[in-house]
Amino acid sequence: MAKATRVSFGEELAELGATHPNLVVFDADLSKSTQSQLFAAKYPERFFEMGIQEHNMIGAAAGMALSGKTPFICSFSTFVVGRFEVIRMSVGYTSARVTIVGTHCGVAIGEDGYSQMALEDIALMRTLPNMAIIQPADDRETRAAVRFLADYDQPAFLRLTRQGVEDVHDDSYRFAFGKADLLREGNDAVIFATGGVVRNSLTAAELLAQKGLNIRVVNIHTIAPLDIDTVVQAAKETGRVITVEDHSVIGGLGGAVAEVLGEHHPTRMKRIGMHTYGRSGTPGDLYRHYGLDAEGIRKQVEEFLHKG
């Protein structure tokens, strides 16, 4: 069943309240959307409604972290990461163990349009040397990432979807921070995908298999620190690299992979993602419009491979 990763997050966080007495949660008037409301209902004394004050929320959470707490702060990703300079100083440079939870990432938020869409958040956060960046692809992975972050003692960014995403993992899945997750074997090319478009990338690979192309699909849930060894090895073994993300192609997963390969193993690449500002529409229509649905990914990969 398709489930939004923000919902998986909210449920898991509320469960962790029992085992993690130092866990505190902040929201900036979006708790019903980010699903931090589930924690708030169970642990009201450890939930802080900050109103529409993202700068202040980031700083207050840093102060809590410096006093021994484990804060998770929640908002739409563009609203919280948009206050980047406060994150840079009060969380990053301060080494405050704050987990910044950005929901409603990408164009898949739909009708609300560009002002609510985070398309640049990964690019900004990647520049902070000690910032872990995790973008899970489904319910199981989200729950495991949230459990990991509740014990993580450094700054972190968790990027979550508004829209439901189909499972790409079963119960045997074990999340490993910083380790890429191989979902499908293949040696004609490799797709590195992250977040809500991982399922679409797998489907695209299945469509291409019908045409005799065997595409490896690797889920990059941890964008920072990136699993450099797996990225380089896959590039060496396949010779063709595609990245897929619901984010700008500049500075996100595509940028990260290009940087690594440029230094370690220059490889022809195709970056699939956003090249423009977003717009309003249904999530399905927007993914078709921007080529992020399975068919759009299939088409772009096929064109890329046929260019030789």
Binding site: G51, H55, G59, A60, A61, A62, G63
Partner: protein, 275 residues
């Protein structure tokens, strides 16, 4: 260490000489706002925060956050006198192999509680510390010094709103109101007045004092120990460059280090205060 107010007045003037020596050695930095701050900081740190090398990591310690991070030479001078850092290290300020960063960094020096220097942010961090104390039922207080130019930042007003909402009567904010900022007098650049009325209307306890009168500073901080459900705001009227006649100007000595001749003239004036 003698923490009587006359002894602290003398200590503050001695630390003024440290500030001049540090800034001259560094060749850059912010004398005006360090000299306006030092009397406040001396009373806060020695009589109220009570910082020592031994309690710098104590979970129950009182906290101090210097939100106006450019005043950090004053903080380093106080930490040296408190025995947290060696006095001789002060002259390494701003050098590449020194712990003493040009603005506060919590990872570099013990008892620097937060990284600041990008204005407007330290008060939110102090607020979070006060919220944490409340959550844990701890008695410690959180002291935070902000600048007047800094008070133009929107994030300061966010924190003023929310600290009142959370009834943080363990949070004590001191405004080093030295009336100057880089581009000119504060009341011309972006006037804060009527400031006391504004802060009171945000549901804070407000006091207004002479920020160079050690007794007034101490009395205001004593008063601010009250736990009446409201956070405390002390408007401390100060003089930028206080103690060095030619530096007592709203803007000229905001961000300029004294050269050899100027440093010698400043030290001569300050040493006259100590005899």
């Amino acid at each position: 260490m003698d923490i009587s107010l006359p002894a602290l007045q003398r200590a503050a003037n001695e630390m003024r000489t440290d500030i001049i020596r540090m800034l001259h050695a560094a060749g850059s930095g912010h004398p005006g706002g360090s000299l306006s701050l030092i009397d406040l900081l001396t009373v806060v740190m020695f009589r109220h925060v009570k910082r020592t090398a031994e309690n710098a990591d104590d979970p129950d310690r009182n906290r101090f956050v210097l939100s106006k991070g450019h005043g950090v030479p004053a903080l380093y001078a106080v930490l040296a006198r408190a025995g947290v850092i060696p006095h001789e290290e002060l002259l390494s300020l701003r050098q590449v192999d020194s712990r003493l960063q040009g603005h506060p960094h919590n990872g570099s020096v013990p008892a620097v509680e937060a990284s600041t220097g990008s204005l407007g942010q330290g008060l939110s961090i102090a607020q979070g510390m006060a919220m944490s104390a409340r959550l844990d039922g701890k008695e410690y207080r959180v002291y935070c010094v902000i600048g007047d130019g800094e008070t133009q930042e929107g994030q300061i007003w966010e924190a003023l709103l929310s600290a009142a909402k959370f009834r943080l009567d363990n949070l004590i904010v001191i405004l080093d109101y030295n009336k100057g900022q880089i581009d000119g007098p504060t009341n011309e650049i972006m006037n804060l007045e009527p400031l006391a009325d504004k802060i009171r209307s945000f549901n804070w306890e407000v006091q207004e004092i002479d920020g160079h009168d050690m007794q007034a500073i101490d009395a205001a901080l004593e008063q601010a120990r009250q736990r009446g459900g409201r956070p405390h705001f002390i408007i401390a009227h100060t003089v930028k460059g206080k103690g060095v006649s030619f530096m007592e100007h709203p803007t000229e000595w905001h961000g300029k280090a004294p050269d050899g001749e100027q440093a010698a003239a400043a030290l001569k004036e300050l040493e006259a205060l100590l005899t």
